[in-house]
């Protein structure tokens, strides 16, 4: 029971984007994926979402090859939040979130409206419900898109750990554009999702968010996994400093999770 990439490679005609990447999204956990721009985070997430097939290696979903699953069957088990924000039509925020219920064929039902309202409230976007998506700010749009992904896997929050078919969330930079409070709100939602038995993969740029909320983490650089394991063991100054070209210092805090303090290296 998990979403697994086994030695996955992905090539473009003149460029290798991923090479020998292995990663597992386990039910009940939040896995954070970090790495510099262009490292291959989004490519890996797309392969796990089934957008395209890996050139090497394979991806399995609960033990079966991902390519054998129909789009409809997958949509009932996992939700994806991409970075693209190309909507140019004036849906209301609630209408966008309601699309998350499309795989469950309950258009306009009370059940759908209940889940939509709950997902909007969970992301702090309740007041946006009747507003046009096009009139929202970047951060508000991100919250609405997060709410749509949550609505698609909402059963996990309600049925909890005992469920036979755990749901998965694949989120590509959900914290981008969000203010500090909403970044933490988004990650706390992922914790709640994992506590209810769901499995989440999230790409992040802030190691401190990963340290505070992720169980496990992988650092990807130039298309290969540089480090993988428990978040606090992976996200260390020794691993991250050379990859990001920054100096880091680990600071223990009273509230639990350690934080990393960053300083730029001195220019020569």
């Amino acid at each position: 029971m998990s979403l697994v990439a086994n030695g996955v490679g992905y090539d473009l005609p003149r460029r290798e984007l991923l090479n020998g990447v292995s990663l597992s999204v386990e039910p009940g956990t939040v896995h954070a994926l970090l790495g510099p721009n262009g490292a291959g985070k989004t490519t890996l997430l797309r392969l796990l979402a089934g957008d395209s097939c890996p050139s090497k290696g394979n991806i399995t979903f609960d033990g079966r090859p991902l390519a054998h699953e129909s789009a409809h069957a997958l949509a009932r088990r996992r939700a994806v939040m991409t970075q693209s924000d190309t909507l140019r039509f004036a849906f209301t925020a609630a209408e966008v979130v309601a699309l998350g219920r499309l795989p469950f064929a309950t258009a306009g039902s009370d059940e759908e409206q209940r889940v939509v309202a709950a997902a909007l409230a969970a992301t702090g976007s309740a007041a946006l419900a009747a507003r046009s998506y096009l009139a929202l700010s970047g951060g508000e749009r991100t919250r609405v898109r997060l709410a749509r992904a949550l609505a698609q896997v909402w059963e996990q929050f309600e049925s909890g750990v005992g469920q036979s078919a755990p749901r998965y969330l694949l989120l590509d930079e959900p914290a981008a554009y969000l203010d500090l409070g909403h970044q933490h709100l988004a990650l706390r939602l992922l914790r709640r999702f994992a506590a209810a038995g769901g499995g989440a993969l999230v790409t992040l740029h802030d190691p401190n968010l990963a340290l505070a909320y992720a169980d496990t983490a992988s650092v990807i650089c130039n298309g290969v996994i540089a480090a993988s394991g428990p978040a606090s063991a992976v996200l260390t100054p020794a691993t991250l400093a050379p990859i990001f070209g920054m100096n880091a210092q680990r600071i223990e805090t009273d509230s639990g999770a350690p934080v990393l303090a960053w300083t730029a290296p001195r220019d020569c």
Partner: protein, 401 residues
């Protein structure tokens, strides 16, 4: 409207409070802050329900009124189609003719005018208008662009080239003149279908239909077909050119019952097929990958959308010539009144398209008595300024769902 927005902004004022409370919750995960949050959430939820029912009710009332008005307009236009023209038939004469039925021997002049000329014409306007509007709405969803129209994938240009070829070579085929009534619709339909097939083939990359390539291939086909039409027109005698131009501006009065019997199933398919896909088109507006993540078979959906465009545009062109603007405008008007979700948008666009084309045809018949204007000229003449007005009024549309 303004009042509604005020209420919304008042609700939005709740927002910072929510982020503040979540912030503090991160730092101190105390039971009190959680209780506070719960209270806050439930208050927010209650506020939403209130706001929903309030603005939803108002919106529903507005939409219902618009739907009733549009249906009335369509019925009035259809009655006008039957009553007015070169000879005015009074309404009671129309009614008695209709009641007597199609089967009875139609001897008097009024009944002949109504049954053989005006009824088929009114039906064609109704069906073609609805089908073109439906095709326009699906193409706008396919291209994720509100400026898309049914002819964008090269269908209209292909139809025109097919028709131009028939006009140009009519002199040669005069020996088989009994075929001529069939030749023009067949060539127009085939031209449109072939153009669409070429465009779809060109746009396929690695098993996927790339929307950007679809647009580019459509533009290329439009250019090539335009060149072919230009070449054929230049070498054709003046009379042939005149005949072609008369065709190219659209005329709903050309077709009799046989033509209508042939294209009706095609137009009905174009009207009915998209309705089943309403939610899938909603998802497609988010993006190809996003629609796939929601379980939509994107490739099959794109094929169906293009099929609808071919059916509507080529079938209309076959019997009435290419008719511009209805497919572009009707979905726009529908979106303004009824919102973006296709479940309501598609039937609304079909209703508006039917009303628009019926009205335009009526106007085309009445404005230049005793002769007629081509209906395509009318749709463009009314549609162009109307569209500009719509754009001018739309400056703040992003604020209004």
């Amino acid at each position: 409207m303004r009042k509604e927005r005020l209420e919304l902004s008042r609700l939005a004022a709740l927002e910072p409070k929510s982020s503040a409370s979540t912030n503090s919750a991160t730092i101190a995960r105390s039971a009190t802050s959680r209780a506070e949050r719960n209270v806050h959430y439930s208050a927010q939820r209650r506020a939403i329900r209130w706001q929903h029912t309030n603005s939803d009710n108002r919106r529903m009332t507005r939409r219902r009124a618009a739907a009733i008005a549009l249906t009335t307009l369509l019925i009035a236009a259809l009655i006008g189609e039957l009553c007015f023209g070169a000879a005015t038939v009074p309404l009671n004469a129309v009614a008695t003719s209709l009641l007597r039925g199609i089967g009875s021997a139609t001897t008097d002049a009024d009944a002949t005018i109504i049954f053989d000329l005006r009824l088929p014409r009114a039906l064609l306007a109704l069906l073609a208008g609805a089908a073109l509007a439906q095709a326009g709405a699906t193409m706008q969803a396919l291209f994720r662009n509100p400026l898309a129209e049914p002819g964008l994938a090269g269908v209209s240009a292909g139809s025109s080239l097919g028709a131009a070829a028939v006009f140009a070579f009519a002199a040669i085929t005069v020996r088989w003149s009994f075929l001529t009534p069939w030749l023009l619709p067949a060539a127009a339909f085939a031209g449109g279908a072939v153009a669409a097939v070429i465009v779809v083939r060109l746009a396929r990359i690695g098993g996927h239909t790339a929307t950007g390539h679809l647009l580019l291939a459509g533009i290329a086909i439009n250019a090539v077909a335009g060149a072919g039409i230009g070449w054929l027109s230049l070498r054709a005698p003046a009379q042939v050119l005149h005949n072609y131009l008369a065709w190219a501006y659209g005329d709903l009065g050309r077709s009799g019952w046989t033509d209508i019997a042939i294209v009706t199933p095609l137009l009905l398919l174009a009207i009915a097929v998209p309705l089943r896909d309403a939610r899938n088109f909603d998802a497609l507006l988010l993006g190809d990958a996003e629609a796939m993540h929601l379980g939509v078979d994107v490739e099959a959906l794109k094929r169906r959308a293009l099929l609808i465009a071919v059916l509507a545009a080529a079938a209309t062109a076959a019997v009435a010539g290419p008719i511009a603007f209805v497919g572009l405008i009707a979905p726009h008007i529908a979106r303004r009144i009824f919102g973006t979700p296709h479940r309501v948008l598609l039937p609304a666009a079909a209703l508006i398209g039917a009303a628009l084309l019926t009205l335009a045809d009526l106007a085309a018949r009445l404005l230049a008595l005793p002769s007629e204007l081509p209906v395509g000229v009318l749709t463009a003449l009314i549609g162009g300024p109307f569209f500009l007005g719509l754009l001018a009024a739309r400056r703040h549309v992003e604020d209004e769902p």
